[in-house]
């Protein structure tokens, strides 16, 4: 479909676009556009979160020859959809004209081989959410480096509090921290992929958390923002959470948490590495069977770069972080009541976006790779190590690439 002729924009007749996303109350945002564009009406349909069934829906719709015009696809999943020819190359419809409106790191993650396959919608610059009251119990402040973090964690354990959780079943957190240390696992090199998961940055990160888990500094019983995590947070058993900016909306779901949390910069590695990292982040992509790609692109650009679009997204959908290079949204420019009056977006997350690893790119079997890594991580609870898990996962990911008929080779750092 990307080699077929470009579909001309509709002339005069009314066009209805469907948009599948798991954003809350997206229709409110679409209605702002709908009011101003009577000829192009957008209809939002809620689907479960990507990895909780949303992507499966999209894949089965594509396989059956149908599907929506627009879909919410995370940055890390764009290459997977490219592999099944599921996305329209928006460069053919003029997307590159808008490149300068977007954060460079994000634009890099949607551009492959001269094409543009999604319009960045939000991202997840990371910071440290923390409970000053719980940290005060052991006389600590928000840790500035990972070593501080480990030391504080040990003190907190004496008060029977965990500093954070380490999600064994969701390697995206580990990946983000390794990225912060400087890792860049997969890259395109000409006609093939190259992989390097056993570089120093990754292995040092793995060793660090191996020690942390062995010393019981973190809990591995649940992941952040899961039901057991909410219960533990409400019971004052969790002191901090290193997570992305979109966590602020989720944090407000902690029973009785108002006013108790603050935000600080993410802890950093002692040598090298970056100030922050990112987890998650979605795009609005145009799916292959859409009959109105040009109109869909225009809507996506409006939604993600116009002031009113961004404000509406933040107000209604609680998106993580505006993808626009210059505008973070009116709401985010204010101090926050939940965070005790701290203007955390301008203080913490805005600078964080300038300190991210720009070299990272995603690859076509991200979900399968994360499952492979998670399987290895799970062995930690029966005597394995994260270091071994990473090394084994690298081998299994190479096999998975080859099974799909893609060429890949291992490079050393």
């Amino acid at each position: 479909m990307n080699s077929a002729p470009v579909i001309r924009p509709a002339s005069g007749e009314k066009v209805t676009l469907t948009y599948w996303a798991w954003l809350k109350d997206l229709q409110n945002v679409c209605d702002i556009w709908n009011a101003k564009n009577p000829n192009v009406q957008v209809n939002a349909v809620w689907i479960p979160g990507g990895n909780g069934g949303g992507y499966q829906k999209m894949h089965s719709a594509l396989a059956a020859g149908g599907g929506p015009d627009l879909a919410q696809i995370e940055l890390r999943t764009i290459p997977e959809f490219m592999l099944v020819n599921g996305l329209v190359d928006l460069a053919r419809y003029g997307a590159k004209d808008y490149a300068d409106r977007f954060d460079k790191t994000l634009w890099g993650q949607v551009s492959f081989v001269d094409g543009v396959y999604g319009i960045p919608q939000d991202s997840g610059p990371m910071g440290l959410y923390y409970r000053p009251d719980l940290l005060q119990k052991v006389g600590a402040d928000a840790p500035k480096t990972w070593d501080d973090w480990a030391a504080t964690a040990a003190e907190l354990r004496k008060a029977k509090i965990y500093i954070d959780c380490f999600p064994l079943a969701d390697p995206s957190w580990f990946t983000a921290v390794a990225t912060q240390a400087g890792a860049s696992w997969l890259k395109v090199d000409g006609d093939s992929w190259t992989i390097n998961m056993t570089d120093d940055a990754t292995l040092n990160t793995a060793r660090f958390f191996d020690k942390a888990i062995d010393k019981d500094l973190v809990t591995t019983a649940y992941a952040g923002f899961s039901t057991p995590w909410f219960a533990a947070a409400a019971a004052d058993n969790i002191a901090t959470l290193t997570s992305a900016s979109w966590g602020d909306a989720l944090l407000e779901g902690v029973s009785g948490g108002k006013g108790k949390w603050r935000v600080a910069a993410m802890p950093t590695w002692p040598k090298g590495g970056y100030g922050s990292s990112y987890i998650g982040g979605s795009t609005a992509a145009v799916l292959a069977n859409s009959k109105h790609p040009k109109e869909a692109l225009e809507f996506a650009i409006w939604m993600q770069t116009s002031k009113e679009g961004i404000d509406a997204l933040i107000k209604n959908c609680g998106i993580g972080w505006s993808p626009d290079r210059d505008y973070i949204g009116k709401q985010r420019e204010q101090p926050s009541a939940f965070f005790g009056g701290q203007n955390y977006n301008e203080e913490v997350f805005l600078p964080a976006t300038h300190e991210q690893n720009p070299d990272w790119s995603w690859w076509p079997i991200t979900q399968q790779s994360f499952n492979i890594l998670a399987d290895g991580f799970r062995k930690k609870s029966s005597g394995g190590t994260l270091v071994d898990a990473v090394a084994q996962a690298e081998k299994n990911i190479i096999t998975a690439f080859r099974n799909k008929g893609l060429s890949i080779r291992k490079v050393e750092s």
Binding site: N2, N51, G52, Y55, Q56, H59, S60, A63, P79, E80, M82, L83, V84, N85, F112, V113, P167, L168, A169, D170, V188, D191, S192, W193, T220, A221, Y222, A223, S226, T227, P228, F230, A231, A232, A234, A235, P364, I365, Q367, Q368, N371, A374, D375, R378, S381, S382, N403, K404, G405, L406, S407
Partner: protein, 315 residues
């Protein structure tokens, strides 16, 4: 056990013609009656299996870093099956289900037999109430039952863990070693009452003179249970076991729903979950088809073997 329709007719001139057309009617009648069922059966059972087998022998290869340089479909010999069997997770899931089946089916069948015997014994009061209470979970779909039980398993929400905590007992329902049995608990909770009713039905069919004879011989309740009731409910036991075996291999909803609260459950925890993930998360329809064929084959062989074994020993 067939009842043949009587074919003899007195041949009179007027009735012989009628006999011929009646015979013709009877030739196509069974096919007319079977027709709708057969058509749908072919559409929803036979064709899919044939398609699955076909897909499992096909392979898709891609060129270029994203397949943008071309995609070719070709005959794959057994490479999909090899890939399915080389997938450690898939093999582990089958092994896990066999272990699960051996333990859970045995415990459940034993429990429902004991309950049936107790319920039908002379010592039980209010049998109607108990039958209703035990049967109730059967009507609750597995998904909803799992949602219910997940709230009883999650620390912080679960009153069971809170109560145990008061006695200083640490309960962990969702840990790596225990989550499989927590799933087994949900399945047992849902189906025990149902299976029990089947056995109760068969118990009720035992003629009273058998019991009279036993009483005359001076047999106590234990002896009666062992020597009379158990052998006579054997057909019901066999039936429930066969279907429980088939059910075990189909386990999907319970682990999938528990996944979000139990990190120990990976996305290939049971054979069906593995096939589903392979098809819809990894987009490997061909390998998933091979997995589906393997699962169907294993289920068929296990049930068939079990039926053969119990038939042979009953002769």
């Amino acid at each position: 056990m067939t009842s043949t329709v009587s074919a003899t007719r007195t041949r009179t001139p007027s009735s012989s013609l009628r006999g011929k057309s009646q015979h013709r009617k009877r030739m196509w009648a069974p096919w007319a009656l079977l027709g709708p069922f057969l058509l749908l059966f072919i559409l929803t059972f036979a064709l899919p299996i044939i398609i699955a087998i076909g897909e499992s022998f096909t392979k898709v290869t891609r060129h270029g870093i994203f397949g943008e340089k071309g995609v070719t479909t070709e005959f794959a010999w057994f490479s999909n099956y090899a890939q399915a069997l080389a997938n450690g997770n898939f093999i582990a899931s089958i092994g896990r289900m066999l272990l699960f089946g051996v333990v859970q089916v045995t415990v459940m069948i034993a429990a429902c037999t004991v309950l049936a015997l107790l319920l039908e014994s002379a010592s039980a009061r209010w049998p109607g109430f108990f039958r209703a209470a035990y049967f109730l979970p059967y009507g609750i779909p597995g998904v909803i039952a799992t949602i219910l039980w997940s709230f009883l398993y999650v620390p912080g929400l679960s009153p069971l863990i809170d109560i145990a905590g008061m006695f200083r007992i640490q309960l962990d329902f969702l840990g790596a070693g225990t989550v499989l049995w927590s799933i087994a608990n949900i399945v047992t909770w849902t189906y025990t009452g149902y299976n029990m009713l089947i056995i109760v039905a068969q118990l009720k069919a035992i003629p009273t003179d058998v019991y009279e004879a036993a009483k005359v011989d001076g047999a106590g309740p234990w002896r009666v249970a062992r020597s009379i009731q158990l052998p006579l409910i054997r057909p019901a036991l066999v039936l429930t076991t066969v279907f429980s075996i088939i059910g075990t291999l189909q386990l999907f909803a319970e682990p999938q729903v528990l996944q979000s609260v139990a990190p120990a459950i990976d996305s290939e925890y049971t054979p069906n979950l593995s096939a589903y993930t392979t098809a819809f998360a990894y987009n490997d329809y061909n390998v998933a088809a091979a997995q589906a064929v393997l699962i169907a084959a294993v289920a068929f062989i296990l049930s068939f073997t079990f039926l053969r074994l119990t038939n042979r020993s009953s002769k």
